[in-house]
């Protein structure tokens, strides 16, 4: 097997606050292979977003954190890179899609200018015209019919779904080998979210990029991932192929999470215990299908 795109081993992270240390990650190990779509599932506060930011090297720039363990991107240990070296990866080799597309775009610049800035991360000398042409081409790939109009618009002039497409196009324009999607489209309504996720899946296939999908939404995870990791309070509690985990959830927390999904046929939202002892049980690993 070739080198995984992303290989995290025993990642531990603590924040130093005014009232002492808070451990956010207590030894996370996960890997994403080339062109694989991996989901990291958990409730809010479980440490899933922080993991994504550590992969991007954003956590490392903060002074109030202690980070141990290893994050290797395409075989390169992130901790061995300089701050500038990690920054070079961002937007080039790794890019990220955020939860709220509208407020994730700079409100005082046109979409075109923001695209150009992203393209220049990879090719600093590209001309404005050529950059815009490339952005327009990428925008038509995300089914935007009038790319020129969108490029000359400000974010507030576009709908949420439109902004989400712009973000996807922006994230993929430099052909990264890893795309991190942090709760993509959670801020949008369900139909638009579904549309954009389909689009993302299709484009990721075409670009042969690997995806780390971060979500609390099991429906999305089941639909859009090959493999998944369940994270609870900074620990991975279950991992395996998506089908296998959904068919046979072994860890108490995973079962509770699956039970917590509101169903139309049932009445009300089921209650999940806050700190059930069984949730701290060791990690369940589903054997890889041969």
């Amino acid at each position: 097997m070739s080198v995984p795109v992303l290989d995290i081993r025993d990642l531990r992270l603590a924040f130093q606050g005014f009232d002492g240390r808070t451990e956010a990650l207590k030894g996370i190990s996960l890997s994403v292979n080339a062109e694989e779509r991996v989901a990291l599932v958990g409730e809010s506060g479980s440490g899933k977003s922080v993991t994504a930011r550590a992969v991007l090297g954003l956590i490392q720039e903060r002074r109030d954190t202690e980070l141990t363990g290893s994050i290797a991107f395409e075989g390169t240990e992130l901790a061995r890179l300089s701050t500038a070296g990690r920054r070079r990866l961002r937007g080039n080799r790794i890019s990220m899609i955020f939860q709220d597309p509208v407020s994730s775009l700079n409100p005082v610049y046109r979409i075109g200018a923001q695209f150009l800035e992203v393209i220049r991360r990879r090719e600093p000398r590209i001309s404005k015209r050529e950059g815009c042409a490339r952005a327009a081409a990428k925008l038509s790939e995300v089914s935007i019919t009038e790319p020129e109009r969108v490029l000359s618009s400000y974010p507030f002039q576009l709908s949420g779904g439109m902004c989400q497409r712009v973000m996807i196009a922006m994230a993929l324009i430099n052909a990264p080998s890893l795309l991190i999607a942090d709760e993509p489209g959670t801020a949008l309504d369900v139909t638009v979210q579904d549309q954009t996720l389909r689009l993302m899946r299709q484009l990721v296939l075409e670009h042969r990029a690997a995806v780390l999908l971060i979500s609390h939404n099991l429906g999305i995870v089941r639909e859009y991932s090959d493999r998944l990791y369940v994270i609870y309070r900074g620990r991975i509690v279950e991992q395996g192929a998506t089908d296998s985990v959904f068919r046979d959830p072994r860890h108490a927390y995973t079962r509770a999470l699956l039970d917590a999904v509101p169903r139309i046929t049932r009445t009300g939202i089921p209650v999940v215990g806050e700190d059930v002892e069984a949730f701290s049980a060791p990690c369940e690993i589903h054997a890889e299908a041969a």
Binding site: N92, N106, P107, V108, V118, Y154, Q157
Partner: protein, 341 residues
């Protein structure tokens, strides 16, 4: 750009309405203050006949409506009447004193923008660090003392104990600068007198700084607060996730969007400085309009009071108009509010 033009026209129209309102108000108020302008002008030894004659000449015996009509009539010809204090047309007085005040206030405004905004930006970028704390302390000091206190302190420190700057006036009497714009800094350069320019600059430094300090403090504090808030916005995180350089993020992602509220405050401060300039002008013997304004109010010089207040209101409105336009240029929401869809 169409929206900006429309905004400009609308604001100009409103400004004219405001000016008309101000003229009515100040016209009435000036006449309600107790005291007879003619008596004050002629002094206690003048006879009743002399006073009555002057009152007739000033049309003070007519109704306030007809007085206002005469005033509007004068105004339409660009006249503001005769000053009793200087015995010259008010327009001439204003033309003489206004440039000094405007020069002072404009230099103070430039200081406010060029010092206040960068200080706030630095403080926000290095939030919690040494620079941040120093800037916050300095800006608190600037805000908490009124400008005349700063005027006295600066004068004592840098003109008296440490005579780096001249103590009073606009320029050394040795220089003769031909008046073109009335701004000595501009006129001396137009005439090619570099030494005169340097001297005028040394004269204006302390009064302008005294006037600007509270504005610098406010601009810095506000910019810092807004930028700190903007740094938490998702688009800043997105910019970081794309690996944009930190300075680029500070400038385009945190500073530019937070400039909008800062500019509003600077506009208001700029206008407030026109009023605050009086005490600073008094302390530094600056021959400006504020000193003139107070002198004419004490003498109940009706025409001069109305003229001075009108000019200061107009400057206030123009300053705010400029700020509104700048904000419209920065904020695409305003610029494209109508012609977007």
């Amino acid at each position: 750009m169409r929206a900006v033009f429309r905004l400009l026209v609308a604001r100009l129209f409103v400004s004219l309405l405001v000016l008309a309102g101000v003229s009515v108000l100040i016209f009435a108020i000036a006449r309600v203050i107790p005291g007879d302008p003619a008596r004050i002008a002629l002094g206690p030894n003048a006879t009743h006949e002399q006073v009555a004659a002057l009152r007739g000449q000033l049309r003070l015996d007519e109704s306030i409506w007809s007085q206002y009509a005469w005033f509007v009539n004068d105004l339409s010809r660009g006249e503001l009447g005769q000053s009793l204090y200087t015995n010259r047309p008010v327009v001439k007085d204003i033309a003489q004193f206004l440039p000094a005040t405007l020069e002072l206030v404009i230099v103070a405004g430039i200081l406010m923008i060029c010092a206040g905004l960068p200080l706030g930006m630095l403080a926000a970028k290095y939030r919690g660090g040494v620079i941040d704390n120093v800037v916050r302390l300095l800006s608190l000091l600037g805000v908490s003392a009124p400008s005349f206190v700063w005027a006295v302190i600066l004068m004592l420190l840098f003109a008296f104990y440490l005579p780096l700057f001249p103590i009073a006036g606009r320029i050394d009497t040795a220089f003769e600068v031909p008046g073109v714009t009335g701004f000595l800094l501009v006129d001396s350069l137009l005439d090619g007198q570099v030494a005169a320019f340097a001297d005028a600059l040394r004269h204006i430094a302390l009064p302008a700084l005294a006037l600007a300090l509270s504005g610098i403090g406010q601009a810095a504090r506000l910019t810092r607060a807004n930028m700190v808030e903007t740094y938490d916005r998702p688009y800043v995180e997105m910019a970081r996730s794309y690996g944009f350089p930190e300075w680029r993020i500070a400038r385009s992602y945190a500073f530019k969007p937070s400039l909008i509220p800062s500019l509003t405050i600077i506009g208001l401060d700029f206008a407030a400085m026109l009023g605050n300039a009086f005490l600073v002008e008094a302390i530094f013997a600056w021959p400006g309009l504020s000193r003139y304004g107070v002198a004419v109010i004490l003498r109940k010089d009706l025409n001069a009071i109305v003229g001075t207040v009108l000019i200061i209101s107009a400057a206030f409105l123009i300053a705010n108009l400029i700020v509104d336009l700048l904000i419209a240029l920065i904020n695409p929401r305003i610029r494209h509010s109508r012609d977007a869809s």
